[in-house]
Symmetry: C2
Subunit: 518 residues, 2 copies
């Protein structure tokens, strides 16, 4: 992680301590939507209503959100000759992109060719559709696959971002994730920000959308915002009106942190669920578009990370511990001392099984498995924070977590017998060839409770990035790109495809918005 | 089937021949939305806009749709003292309810007690949530389970509908579907219609909603409609304005027949897919609510019947053939001659597997299985229509369907070996104890291609049946009940629960709408 990014993470950390606690008694909420002190921003007001008497700011293209999609849109809009402004509600630019893993999935790239990997947009599309349970809008998924290489080249050659290595994510047929040098989206966000500034894009942080403004014909002509907004204090900020002569582009990301919206679409995901996302990943821009008549799609497909720990904030280190141990160590229900679900099940299956139990479970491994599989740094950091624990004996482990000892030890014996014969008679877990019975102390364990990771659903936009209304027509003057748009990924997003989607459709939105004739 | 219902089915049949063909070159459509000649009604116009200069009709409560939910709402609204009007776009009242199977799931009923069945609302709720993959809105599912018995009693004692027997549907823990005497929803629809008329509810058919009318404050105050509308001819009908002094209740059913809406939410479900629903099961009322700022939920959970035949219209007879044969006879991919998916898989699994192949498959059985399992009348009707075929030899069967004979015969041998040992080594199909190898001629077969059966998703309404907007507030003056409302069933609706939901929430909507103080 770069020093720059660390600084940004620190700001989020401070925010989550300072402002979140302050906000506990804050704005109007439905019961139970304060999570670890997180208060959700209030929804936007109605889109219809009178035009403002006076516009405070006038631009051609107004972009809401400053992650990959928003910044790519801004650069393209500016390059196409439009006066362009980006607003960001948080104090830091970059949205969730700045804390993402920096993996850019692209097919048929130079880096792949150099590594002797035979890939194609057709194969990438096939992988996306299979993972998406064929709910993906094929036309848009196809554009992402087909333009992924061009978009990556643009990031490298025009934006100047550095990609260092190819990585693999489950569900892809080949290695096609191109990882930034610092294994973080911040590499690309910072270079995009630099380019946008060089080009003369106006960038305003602490500026929150409160409603989209439409004229009598139903065209989006601007936005009401709060300037000097201090997330998440809804009483902060001053009202201002921004006129967008050509178009507004919504690039405000997903709603993984928005408990209220989550509860509508997947009612299990209440305040018991933390998120790997930055605190600003809330849905008020999606709601504002809905009030302007925008159709939404697939909002109930909310991706959970079953590898997350309730004992650390955000993404944390336990995922790196857990995902390297599945197939090497058992996942245990602490109430019964027994295994309860196939450790190598997919993300959704495992998360569903844990949620059904209703409390955190344990993933564990002995010294052999952990030292063989887990990156030393992740282990060290997890132990330091206390999210990963180390025990001399299985008895100590059972005692610490309050697991019924007899049942637990007999279950470990049973697990070990499966590992020896490389076949799990109980739950059909894949046991890897080099796995060994869990017998070498010390023993390591971490608690698991799913976190909300990504929202596949969002606005219904067409392949030109125009937002579609409930009348099946594009809403004039309104575009969207990035995680706020649904249906590219269908039911399940594959690793690294978010970054490709943001750049591909961010660019399309920026180009088309700048071309609007008004 | 009663004579009355036969008459109604005949009208649908005539419609589908006469008007559908006429409409092929009709109103503006996206490519590929004519299915068997079916043209979709155009979406409603914008909800906002000026109030009409003159209202043509004034009522207290206006109900859109005349199925179970709409009629139950009408009766309750009228009984609560409100002037009540029901409009129906089709020439026949009853919506899809009139062709449903007449199964009413309810827990803790008199009929269950008499049969010695121990059931409770808690158990019914548990079954609903499990089937719904826990995506159900628990508060509303709970109301359905808790009020199911009271609603059934109301249908029997107050409405005068006759229920004759308990039936079982997959996913329920006990027998709790109460079937009408004629095994059709028409029994209840006709009694509801009779009661509504007796009470003085105004009922207008051939009257289609074109938009909801809102006042400046965002309250729904009425509707613009087309009177004398001839489904599906969008050029037919005369514009009229109906004022609803208290409220509008949306009870217009699901969108199983709406190819355009299906394509947004499950892009696989194009014009290749017929529906078991009546032709009017289209989504324009849902769209009109969306334009009025209503939030939608779970629209991508569209239930398919994997037991349907492309060789007959609507629900047909093949489902009764297919569902009785699973576990007794194999399902064959005609291109390879091989089995391809567990015959006893659930609806969704089987439909997904067939769609992935991309063409119809076969279900088959020999004389032993078919005569043992299939209702003679269903077999006879299916053979008459040609949707079920009979062959003297397996070779004849292979020849007729163009199946590679050698592979097919070897696959049947393999299937027979599984049946003998009661264990399917290939696909883990459940083989029932009384199943026998497929060896007794004649052999029967039918082609299978999924049909759209039910849309679990819809509007987001609260437990008082108020429609919720994108600002999380109820839209004043707007209620909804029945299949047009989402989230009661979550991902999957269990058999018979639709009828319970329609009556329970129809009544709630009618009672609350009549109570509105304006």
């Amino acid at each position: 992680m770069s020093g720059e990014e660390k600084g940004k993470k620190k700001i989020w950390g401070e925010l989550s301590r300072r402002d979140f606690v302050k906000s506990l008694g804050g704005s109007a909420l439905i019961a139970g939507t304060t999570l670890g002190g997180l208060t959700l921003p209030g929804p936007a007001e109605a889109a219809f209503g009178d035009l403002p008497k006076k516009w405070d700011i006038t631009t051609d293209v107004l972009i809401i959100g400053s992650g990959f999609a928003g910044l790519a849109a801004a650069i393209e809009a500016k390059n196409a000759g439009a006066k362009t402004m980006v607003i960001e509600k948080m104090p830091v630019f970059g949205g969730n992109s700045i804390i993402n893993g920096g993996d850019f999935s692209a097919a048929g790239t130079k880096m792949q060719k150099e590594a002797g990997i035979n890939d194609s947009p057709e194969l990438m599309l096939k992988d996306m559709l299979k993972a998406g349970l064929y709910l993906n809008h094929v036309d848009k998924a196809k554009i992402v696959a087909e333009k992924s290489n061009e978009a990556l080249e643009w990031c490298i050659n025009y934006i100047g971002a550095n990609f260092a290595r190819l990585t693999y994510h489950g569900g892809h047929s080949v290695k096609r994730s191109h990882q930034t040098v610092n294994a973080s989206g911040s590499e690309l966000v910072n270079k995009l920000l630099q380019k946008a500034r060089e080009l003369g894009v106006t960038l305003e942080n602490k500026t929150k959308l409160t409603r989209l403004i439409m004229d009598k014909k139903g065209r989006v002509v601007g936005a009401e915002v709060k300037k000097d907004y201090k997330f998440p204090d809804e009483s902060s900020g001053k009202r201002a009106f921004i006129r967008a002569k050509k178009a507004v582009i919504l690039a405000a990301g997903g709603f993984s942190r928005d408990v209220r919206l989550r509860l509508v679409h997947d009612p299990r995901l209440d305040e018991r669920f933390d998120s790997t996302n930055q605190p600003g990943a809330t849905g008020e821009v999606l709601l504002a578009a809905g009030q302007a008549g925008a159709m939404t799609v697939h909002l109930d497909w909310i991706q959970l990370g079953p590898w997350a720990s309730p004992d650390e904030k955000g993404f944390g280190y336990v995922p790196l511990f857990c995902e390297r141990l599945v197939g090497y160590g058992p996942m245990i229900d602490p109430k019964t001392g027994k295994r309860f679900f196939k450790e190598t099940g997919n993300r959704k299956e495992r998360a569903d099984a844990i949620i059904l139990l209703g409390y955190p479970v344990l993933i564990m491994g002995d010294a052999y498995a952990v030292h063989k599989q887990v990156f030393p740094q992740a282990l060290e950091k997890g132990l330091q924070s206390g999210a990963i624990k180390k025990f001399d004996t299985l008895q100590d482990l059972a005692k610490f977590y309050g697991i019924p000892e007899k049942e637990f030890l007999s279950q470990i014996e049973r697990w070990n017998s499966f590992v020896e014969k490389k076949k799990d008679d109980d739950l059909d877990c894949m046991i890897f060839p080099d796995a060994k019975p869990m017998a070498t102390p010390p023993f390591y364990a971490a608690r698991l409770w799913p976190k909300v990771h990504y929202t596949m659903g969002g606005l219904y936009a067409d392949k030109d990035a125009r937002v579609i209304g409930f009348d099946f027509k594009p809403i004039a003057g309104l575009y969207a790109a990035g995680e706020i748009v649904g249906a590219v990924h269908g039911a399940v997003r594959l690793g690294g495809v978010a970054m490709a989607t943001c750049i591909v459709f961010g660019r399309i939105a920026g180009q088309n918005a700048a071309r609007e004739q008004v």
